[in-house]
């Protein structure tokens, strides 16, 4: 069990290191998220946009997440590192969890960069522990299914379009829950008011982490 855990972290660390070396994805994706937020502000009247602030945030994070996921896996595929990983005597679910943690870390970093700017642009209360939890749960959902689907998309002819087509319908429950929960949290409501949404996300995360790890091997085997 410990050995597997070590391998998972080894894979995670490898991904972090390779990203730190190039830094291209970690810089471009937050910029993209920011641009999405700015465009939304141009698209709506100022008073209206405040009403949909929560939605704007999550649209930005979703698009950014998809962009980041597809770029990470594309680089991996082009360099053949995934095949290299497959040659190691490593369980496929271990690879899955390693890559999933990598995607998770990546999206969390993007969120950490984007959130403060979001708060400033929307004049919203800067820090709330509720939001941390919501973002964390939603991001686990993104990473669990996103890792699986990026592995699929990267092996298709139309990489860029395939990931959103696979990802968005499946993520609908998470996006709905995240937006509603964020809305309530930003309005200053108590934890109880959005606990249902949190429960939905927790259930989603657990179930899809398990299922994705079981099914991952069928995608990466030649």
């Amino acid at each position: 069990m410990n050995k597997s855990l070590d391998k998972v972290f080894a894979i995670l660390w490898k991904d972090i290191l390779s990203e730190l070396r190039t830094k291209d994805v970690i810089i471009s994706v937050p910029v993209f998220a920011l641009l999405v937020i700015v465009i939304f502000n141009f698209a709506f009247e100022p008073d209206r946009v405040r009403l949909v602030a929560s939605g704007v945030l999550w649209v930005a994070l979703t698009f950014a997440g998809v962009l980041g996921l597809s770029r990470s896996f594309a680089v991996e595929k082009d360099q053949g590192s995934l095949e290299g990983l497959m040659l190691c005597p490593v369980g496929r679910d271990v690879i899955y969890f390693g890559k999933m943690l990598g995607s998770l870390t990546f999206i969390l970093v993007v969120a950490i960069i984007v959130l403060p700017i979001f708060f400033i642009l929307f004049n919203l209360p800067v820090f709330k522990p509720e939001l941390v939890l919501i973002v964390f749960l939603a991001t686990i959902g993104f990473a669990s299914v996103g890792t699986l689907f990026s592995a699929i998309a990267v092996n298709t002819k139309a990489r860029d379009i395939m990931l959103p087509i696979l990802f968005f319908p499946i993520m609908a429950p998470v996006i709905i829950s995240a937006v509603k929960a964020t809305e309530l949290a930003l309005a200053g409501e108590s934890w109880g008011s959005f606990s249902t949404w949190l429960q939905v996300m927790v259930a989603f995360d657990i179930i899809f982490l398990v299922v994705s790890s079981l099914v991952f091997e069928f995608i990466v085997e030649e």
Partner: protein, 247 residues
């Protein structure tokens, strides 16, 4: 074997034709007009069967996908370890491709039914609620998401680099998608729960309406299985051609 399937499909087609005539009679002649909604309410007898078929065929996509992946994984295991359930194992393994065919054909017929469900739902909505579409009805939203998942399933197959990989990718999408649907229904229901949206029926169903509905569902379900059988037969002929041309 092929002839059996074609014959079965034709029989089913005839049976469904008979049931259709019956259901049409019931829908247009027998059933009384609903008080509040008027004559348009009869679209209900079209919409519910389509919605039911959309769900039924996704169940079949799910079962086919799971059995396909199961068969794939069992191909790699050795005989000795599984001697106890060898019968089951060899049954699954031999039909490996057939599970995938089942899932694929069900997805194709399924997306047709889902499209019709959305269209009839929309045509129903316009005179009743005044809009072609509403996000307030969780069932409608969930059907749209289901349609998108069917689309993703079919697209992943055609965009894959090789057929075998495409089959595996699609099976994964089928499984993930199926598990996702309850979450979608839950989330959309909670989402709209606070605003009492338009509901489909105020009271229960009167007996003549229930009968009409059941016969209609039966008619379309039989038609569905007839179409499924035909589509599977078509795909198998296609596979045979590929085998012959590869020799």
């Amino acid at each position: 074997m092929k002839e059996n399937r074609v014959m079965r499909s034709n029989i089913l087609l005839v049976v469904s034709f008979v049931l259709m005539i019956a259901s049409l009679y019931l829908v247009f002649v027998y059933v009384p007009t609903e008080k509040e909604m008027g004559i348009v309410q009869r679209i209900f007898y079209l919409m519910v069967p389509m919605g039911w078929l959309a769900i039924l065929s996704f169940h079949i996509v799910f079962i086919g996908s799971i059995l396909y992946l199961l068969a794939l994984s069992l191909t790699m295991l050795k005989r000795k370890r599984l001697s106890r359930c060898w019968k089951v194992v060899s049954y699954l393994r031999k039909r490996e491709r057939k599970w995938d065919t089942l899932a694929y054909c069900s997805a194709e017929v399924g997306i047709v039914c889902t499209t019709l469900a959305l269209i009839t739902g929309s045509i129903w909505a316009k005179p009743i609620w005044g809009v072609w579409w509403t996000w307030s009805e969780p069932r409608l939203t969930a059907t749209l998401v289901l349609w998108l998942i069917y689309l993703a399933y079919l697209m992943v197959r055609s965009f894959a680099t090789e057929e075998s990989r495409g089959a595996r990718f699609a099976a994964v999408v089928g499984i993930i998608g199926f598990i996702d649907i309850p979450f979608v229904i839950l989330a959309t229901t909670l989402w709209r729960g606070l605003h009492p949206g338009p509901i489909i029926f105020a009271g229960g169903l009167a007996p003549p309406m229930l009968l009409t509905l059941l016969i209609s569902i039966a008619a379309y379900t039989v038609l569905y299985f007839s179409l499924l059988g035909r589509r599977i037969g078509l795909r198998e002929v296609g596979t045979e051609i590929k085998k012959l041309t590869h020799d």
